[in-house]
Structure formats: C-alpha cells, structure tokens
C-alpha cells in the first residue's frame, strides 16, 4: 500500500487538482491540465513500441561476445565494435562504469574503453528512439554524426594522455559501500 502511495500519490493529487480546476473553472489549472494531456497523448503514441524494442534488444543481444574483440590489437574493427556495443546498452552513465570495468578486465584497450564510454552516454538505441519521437530524426542524425567522431577523438586523446601513466580501473565490488549511499 505504502509503495503505491509513494509511486502514484503525486499523480493522483494531480488528477484531483485537474478535476477541481475544471469544476471551478480555475484558469491556471485548466492550462496546466491541457498542456499535460497534450504531452501525455504525445507520449502514449510512441512510447509503448519503444519499450517493446528495448525488450527485444535485451533478449537478442549477447553482450559477452563483443568484449573479446576490443583489445589493443583490434584496430578499426575494435573501435567499430566499441561504438556498436555501446548502442545496445541502456541506463544512465554511471551504470556504464561497471561495464567498463569488465571490458578493462577482458583486455579492452584504453582508447576503446573511452570510445565505449562516450558512445554509451549518447548513442544508446532505446534513448535514440525516444529522442527521434520527440525531437525528430534530423536532430538525432545531426547529433550522432557530430558526436561519434568527437568520441573517437576523445578515445585517442585519453590513450595518448594515459600512455605511460599506469592507468587502471578499480574493482567495483571494493567500492560497493559508496554506490549504496547514492
């Protein structure tokens, strides 16, 4: 019960607010409700199919296969794989750090790790499909076309910067207490 109040309480209060606004012709409330309904309808027209796509991606993509081919000798193929692998992810940027640790353990190069991290932040397919729905395909195409070369550049820059610096990524389990506090 408490869980439901926490999850839907705010929405219920808003529905009451909307009903009262209409009942008492409260202009501000009516305006808010109208703009909310507009956004809600916009969302409901495309969000369901986006989540079906996300679910299908999750069921079909075996992430382990990518990791093997991202090492220092992987060349352009490794870079390409880092970009593609990142697209099949989901979640916020801090969710990428544990994945990056695993990539690092599996021997991915510094360049590919940072290319993956950059592309993770900006090229995830679930996110791109929502972005296309809201801001249009031109926006998404322009953004990704400019972003990918920059991320590859950052990957090379990081590799150059960390060349003789004995770079390592720390085991996430050692810092579990910190993530628990967030």
């Amino acid at each position: 019960m408490r869980k439901y109040i926490k999850e839907y309480g705010f929405i219920c209060v808003f529905i009451l607010f909307a009903i009262f606004s209409y009942a008492y012709s409260y202009n501000f409330g009516i305006n808010v409700t109208k703009s909310f309904l507009y956004m809600f309808i916009e969302m409901i027209t495309f969000i369901p199919i986006v989540f079906i796509l996300v679910g299908l991606l999750d069921a079909w993509i075996p992430s382990q296969k990518f990791q093997k081919y991202m090492g220092p000798e992987s060349g352009i193929k490794g870079t390409l794989l880092s970009v593609i692998f990142s697209m099949f992810q989901a979640g916020p940027l801090y969710g990428a750090f544990p994945i990056v640790y695993i990539l690092y353990k599996k021997g991915a190069s510094i360049k590919n790790i940072f290319i993956f991290l950059g592309c993770f932040s900006a090229l995830k397919i679930p996110m791109l499909s929502i972005e296309i729905g809201y801001l249009g395909v031109e926006f998404t195409l322009a953004r990704t076309a400019i972003a990918v070369p920059l991320f590859i550049g950052i990957g090379y820059a990081m590799e150059y910067y960390l060349k003789d610096k004995n770079f390592k990524i720390t085991d996430p389990t050692e810092i579990k207490s910190l993530t628990d506090n967030i």
Binding site: F40, L56, Y134, L178
Partner: protein, 160 residues
C-alpha cells in the same frame, strides 16, 4: 513529429515480426521485459510531465525566448551547459520537456547543449566516477566531454 512516430511503429512492428519468425520464446521474453521496464518508468515519466506542465504554465513564452531562444546567444549556451552538467536526470525524461521548450521558442543550440551535457558530463556522479578511474582521469574525461558537448550543441544549432 507525426512521420517520426509512424516510422518508429513501422520499425518496431517489423522487428517484432522478424523476431517472432526466428524465435518465439525469445520474442515473448523480450516483450515481457519491455512491459516490465515500461511499468517501472511509467510513474516517473508521468510525474515529470506534470512538473513540466506546471512550470511551463508559470513561465511565459517570452521569458523562454529571452533566456533560451536565439537571442540568448553564448550566454544561453553556457547556462544550459552548466545546468546540464550538474543535473542528474535520466535523458529520456528530459525529451518531452525539451520538445515543449522548442515549441515555445527555445533555440536548438541551447536545447542541444543542455541534452548533450546532461548525457556526457556528470558532476554529481564525479565522486563515483573517480573511484573507478581515479580523480585525475575523471576530471580529464569530464572536461573533454564538456567541450565536446558544447561543440555538438553549437553545431546542431548551426545545422538545424
């Protein structure tokens, strides 16, 4: 807006049919997973839309145009870059707000800068990031990404 929605549905239904043709079990599992994710995100998604409609009703289009529109220029870009770097909001939740702001006169440059910094730079998560990479590397990564995000924002503003 409409053609994009139709395109998404066509892609979605085609992938669904293809997936079903090749593997019924995987498809069912995928759909279940998708519905589960959707259920989990429904409440935050709707809540943020309520907050956005409240804010948009309070702020007049003139103010949006003045601070986030074409005339805001460099100031608008820098402001949105800093807000985007600090904010810790899932990007997909920001898109409905971004789309509303664009309709009300915000410029593509400002909105794109905000979204790209939000995606690529994380000041709030910096302590967590530096535990993984070390402080120095985390600083360098965030700074590089900050400038990359601004470049992307300005370029999108120039293109669109």
């Amino acid at each position: 807006m409409l053609p994009n929605t139709i395109a998404l549905w066509i892609i979605g239904i085609l992938s669904l049919l293809l997936s079903y043709y090749f593997d019924k079990e995987k498809t069912k599992k995928g759909i279940k997973k998708g519905i589960k994710i959707f259920k989990g995100l429904f409440s935050p998604f709707v809540s943020i839309m309520i907050i956005a409609s409240l804010l948009l009703a309070l702020v007049s289009p003139e103010i949006i145009e003045q601070y986030l529109g074409r005339e805001s220029g460099f100031f608008g870009v820098i402001l949105s870059a800093f807000i985007g770097s600090i904010a810790l909001i899932p990007a997909f939740i920001v898109y409905p707000i971004a789309s509303e702001l664009l309709k009300r006169g915000a410029s593509y440059m400002v909105i794109a800068t905000f979204i790209t910094t939000l995606l690529m730079v994380g000041i709030i998560t910096f302590p967590l990031e530096s535990k993984y990479f070390g402080k120095k590397v985390a600083v360098v990564r965030n700074i590089l990404n900050f400038f990359a995000a601004i470049i992307i924002g300005i370029a999108i503003g120039a293109i669109l």
